[in-house]
Symmetry: C2
Subunit: 319 residues, 2 copies
């Protein structure tokens, strides 16, 4: 069933007792979208509750400052920013065949809900939620504005990713006028590093090597280094991007030893290099400029395998 | 003489042969503002030329892609983003008492021009130039849009600094709609690191020390390390911000040995700490959250001097 924003507003007005499901390993967009929608529904006098399979990371807790804790049995289940039913995660998988409405912006969305609104031209699901709240005529207060702003800012890498549109900027501007504390949000999201993250970055920089006439830069973290750093999942944010940012580098590689002998490869490339083609050789794939894969062996074998595939690619494409 | 945007538009319409002066050690805002204004004046059929005391760094060269080289004697001299006549720099100082119109957004502007338009509520001078171009009814093409976008994005730290307003976002949105390549600009400005910068960051991270129960973090670069790295001025961008970004750190310090025994201190603080008060003890000053000073001696003496002033401040303010 194809729906428009106004249809969604109508559905929300006509129902009550909403469960709003986010994706596992939650980020700012799934949590910001859920928080904003929950707040809007509660402001309309409805019962609404946000659920996540994983614990909410501390840095996102402020998104739920204005949310009232309500206990009720769900009669309408919504998922936000969930591209695939598997991404609901272990603790929400019981809702897998009970999702009434899915709101998402992922290009590679796999439908699983009764009703889906999936529009990939939006940079963030939070932008869609903003349109829905407008259609519901709910006033955007500072709490809602903080949620929407966080979703947009995090999913656009603070307006730097190529998905960012002028619409993203305009919604952000409106949210600031409604009271969003953009400065504080961006400070928390982008300008705060844990001690563990800092130590990961230090070790990664020490491992930096250049190949293919400096067109290729590679950093790596062994499992032992990761365990010793005490890093959690979110501490790895942005590390894969480091080697590609170096002047003249067309291919940046981050090798992470997930478990002894199992190496996750993340590749970031300039637009003239197709990372997904190279990573197809490592049981992986992805997008043109960001792809990944998995290789088994020793670190030195993994590096050699990657370099020889890159050399072959560069030779064949004459870059 | 107090003027408004429309008065400036009138002045520009009634004059010709414009020299547009930027500040020394040019940044994205002074160059973006100058480029946009020059393009707009040339589109109006006027002669206009951008001048800078220093060489234009390579990463800003694209701002002048659309500018025609015109040779003429100036009859009207404008400065953009120049807060003090000293900042014109050695090679433009001959214009010091010839500036007809000054357009600036710095809070601490020292008037030196015949006519000044200084409004510090604008996050970037480029926002003022945008208003002037609008008042001139010049169509904003992609070249002008790239200039304005660059000025705003660089002066707001890609929309992260506390000076960013909803107006900044709205102008940015308009510039994207006019053809600004925001993604490429931000990639060049924020996501590209020279080899020298990378090596500076590595050395700085290795020097990291914590003091005052981890509330204070300090990094340093000796003159020898700086010289060996081959770094230029712009490679230091952002380094002063590193220590403050660490979780729990209220005071971040970057010590840079400018010349043997002469140490420049940059301090970045949480809003509860007044950096300018602490730096007043180091022949310096600045803003509440960003200040600096200069200390002479050995690195170890400099560190001790800074730490003892911070301990005194923390003791007296009971932070």
């Amino acid at each position: 069933m194809k729906v428009e924003i106004n249809d969604i507003a109508k559905i929300l007005r006509n129902n009550n007792n909403f469960y709003i499901l986010t994706h596992k390993s939650p980020d700012g967009d799934t949590l910001g979208s859920a928080g904003a929608l929950c707040l809007a529904l509660q402001r309309m006098g409805k019962n609404a509750r946000v659920l996540c399979s994983d614990e909410i990371p501390e840095k996102y807790e402020f998104l739920f400052d204005g949310v009232k804790n309500q206990n009720f049995d769900p009669s309408y289940v919504i998922s936000v920013d969930v591209a695939d039913v598997q991404l609901l995660g272990e603790n929400l998988f019981c809702f897998a065949d009970r999702v009434d409405l899915c709101i998402d912006h992922h290009l590679l969305h796999r439908q699983f809900a009764k009703v889906s609104y999936v529009e990939s031209h939006f940079a963030a699901t939070a932008e869609i939620i903003h349109e829905i709240i407008k259609a519901l005529s709910v006033t955007v207060d500072a709490d809602i504005a903080n949620c929407i702003y966080t979703g947009i800012s995090t999913d656009t890498g603070c307006f730097r990713h190529s998905n960012t549109t002028s619409f993203s900027y305009r919604v952000a501007a409106n949210m600031i006028d409604c009271g969003a504390n953009a400065f504080e949000i961006n400070k928390i999201m982008f300008d705060t590093k844990s001690h563990a993250k800092l130590s990961l970055e230090k070790i990664a920089l020490e491992s930096l090597e250049f190949f293919c006439k400096d067109k290729c830069a590679m950093i790596s973290l062994t499992n032992e280094e990761i365990v010793n750093s005490g890093a959690c999942e979110s501490d790895f944010d942005g590390i894969a991007a480091i080697p590609r940012q170096i002047e003249g580098v067309l291919i940046g590689i981050f090798i992470k030893e997930e478990k002894k002998g199992i190496f996750k490869v993340s590749m970031r490339t300039d637009a003239i290099i197709d990372a997904s083609k190279i990573c197809a050789n490592f049981n992986g794939g992805g997008h043109r400029c960001a792809a990944g894969g998995t290789i088994f062996g020793s670190l030195i074998d993994v590096k050699n395998k990657i370099i020889s595939e890159i050399e072959l690619y560069l030779h064949n494409t004459e870059v």
